[in-house]
Amino acid sequence: LDDLARHRWIATHILPLEGEVRGWLRRHVHSLTAADADDLVQECYSRLWDADFAHIANARGYLYATIRNLLLEDARRAKIVPMERLGEIEALRIPTDEPGPERLVTARQELERLVAIVEGLPAQCQRAFRLQKFHGLSQREIATEMNISEKTVEKHLATALLRVLDTLARQDTESGANPPSDNRYDTQSTHD
């Protein structure tokens, strides 16, 4: 896999789970501050990048296992959690779930959220972003089209991306209220 394909793999398999993982961390590892969670998530992407994607059968399980391992490593170094929490981490429950309909609904919401972000961008920034991501123009073409420098185009695009990154980190406020595996039974139950 080349770098683009690897970034796509991460975008498809991991990014949509980031909010959920952050929510899970917040609920289960209370000693973790928001900044710790950021560090942990960043470390996790770094770790994932080194994995052989072809052999990851279940990205979700792999992601949680990676997070859990990082927590354990940090706990051993007493960096994030005191030693007595080690056992607690060992016992941490990893949600087991396949992308069921709930998850797909979330994917749709995620798309809507992206659109909302774009619509909330400052006018110039939004225009540059739309020209690139909706119409496929290069940065140079956008610069000509908008009569601004390429550097400015780059700044606008980076602003847009930063908004997206912030939203990724914050999206757990909605979807993370319940572990996804807890709801599943309700939809399948046969009692009346």
Binding site: Q42, A57, G61, V105, V115, L161, L168, T190
Partner: protein
């Protein structure tokens, strides 16, 4: 006030955008390397930002084909609202959208219990069997349903007085439609599990028979080898383990544990600290390609993770990586062994 200092994410975003355009100049490459080396968090932040940037290409794909089955960006919220509304009403007729289909499937599942059993087939002694690696859902004539796990055989006998399913071997999840006059009875190795309207799983794989209840109450009866019959009520979030030596033991189980134990219904197997030998045993039940643990020292190591039940190779590779072991293919079997010292 001074402007906010750049955050890791804002710098990562700039580099992600820059990297998506022309190749970097020598100076730029140098600056990027410096930034990456300055802090271990920077690398992950950049990977995340680049993945998110690539992901935004989907917007172009969606807006480029407004007439295709994919929703256009502008119309997406209206469309999803419509999907949502239809999902609640009734299963849609046909749709090219897979997502839609899945949602509809769930709606249909939740309907089976609510009295769609107008369908009056009386089946007698029907045998259902799954192959290794197969998981099948069997809707029954009364509105109940059985989900059969891998390598499972069940015989369904419905009569006027009761509904009996004999679990000859394997594992099944029973979703029982309420019928106060006709109890639903599952027989497994002489043990009977009696329910009126509940959801529970019966496992007749190991020596013990295990009954896990997720909803309602069942009665587990063990005629006993010595003739002394035992009877226990087992409620939601409880499990009965019935063994020849100890009779019926009822334990409380957490929702998490139930989810893990029933992950097979989604074609997954979930382990959370189970020993490698137990995990391999379970994976092997689902696969014709068997895994062998060559190294006894590995057998007791704990395994954590969720795996696709039918992917023995993926399991072996992942576990090997996690335990610092190696997996090797030899003919039809997969071997797990300690990695050779370099």
């Amino acid at each position: 006030m001074t402007p906010n200092p750049p955050t890791i994410d804002s710098v990562a975003a700039e580099w992600a955008v820059r990297l998506s355009a022309d190749p970097l100049s020598v100076e730029e490459q140098q600056a990027l390397d410096e930034w990456l080396n300055a802090d271990t968090r920077h690398r992950g932040a950049l990977i995340r930002a680049r993945a998110a940037w690539v992901d935004l290409d989907r917007l172009a794909a969606l807006s480029a084909h407004p007439s295709a089955s994919a929703p256009t960006v502008a119309a997406s919220s209206a469309l999803s609202a419509a999907c949502e509304a239809r999902r609640l009403e009734s299963p849609p007729v046909a749709s090219s959208s897979r997502r839609f289909f899945l949602a509809a499937g769930l709606a249909a599942i939740s309907l089976t219990g609510t009295g769609v059993a107008a369908w009056r087939f009386r089946r007698r002694g029907d045998i259902y069997e799954t192959a290794v690696g197969e998981i099948r859902r069997i809707p029954l004539s009364d509105g109940s349903a059985i989900l059969l796990d891998t390598d499972t055989r069940a015989e369904v006998r419905f009569a006027k007085a009761d509904r009996t399913v004999e679990l000859v071997r394997g594992q099944g999840l029973f979703e029982v439609a309420k019928d106060a006059v006709r109890p639903f009875i599952v027989l497994a190795r002489g043990i009977s599990v009696r329910a009126v309207g509940t959801v529970f799983a019966v496992r007749a794989v190991d020596q013990d028979v295990k009954v896990t209840v997720t909803e309602g109450v069942v009665e587990v009866a063990d005629p006993g080898t010595s003739g002394s019959a035992a009877l226990e009520r087992v409620g939601a979030d409880e499990r009965a383990v019935v063994s020849a030596s100890q009779g019926i033991r009822v334990q409380r189980v957490s929702a998490a544990q139930i989810d893990r134990n029933l992950a097979w219904r989604d074609g997954m197997l979930s382990f959370d600290g189970d020993t490698l030998s137990d995990a391999v045993k379970e994976i092997n039940r689902h696969n014709t390609r068997q895994i062998l643990i060559d190294d006894p020292a590995l057998a007791g190591r704990p395994v954590v993770g969720v795996f696709r039940a039918t992917n023995a190779e993926g399991f072996a590779e992942t576990v090997a990586a996690a335990l610092g072991a190696e997996s090797a293919v030899e003919g039809d079997t997969l071997h797990l062994r300690a990695r050779n010292a370099r």
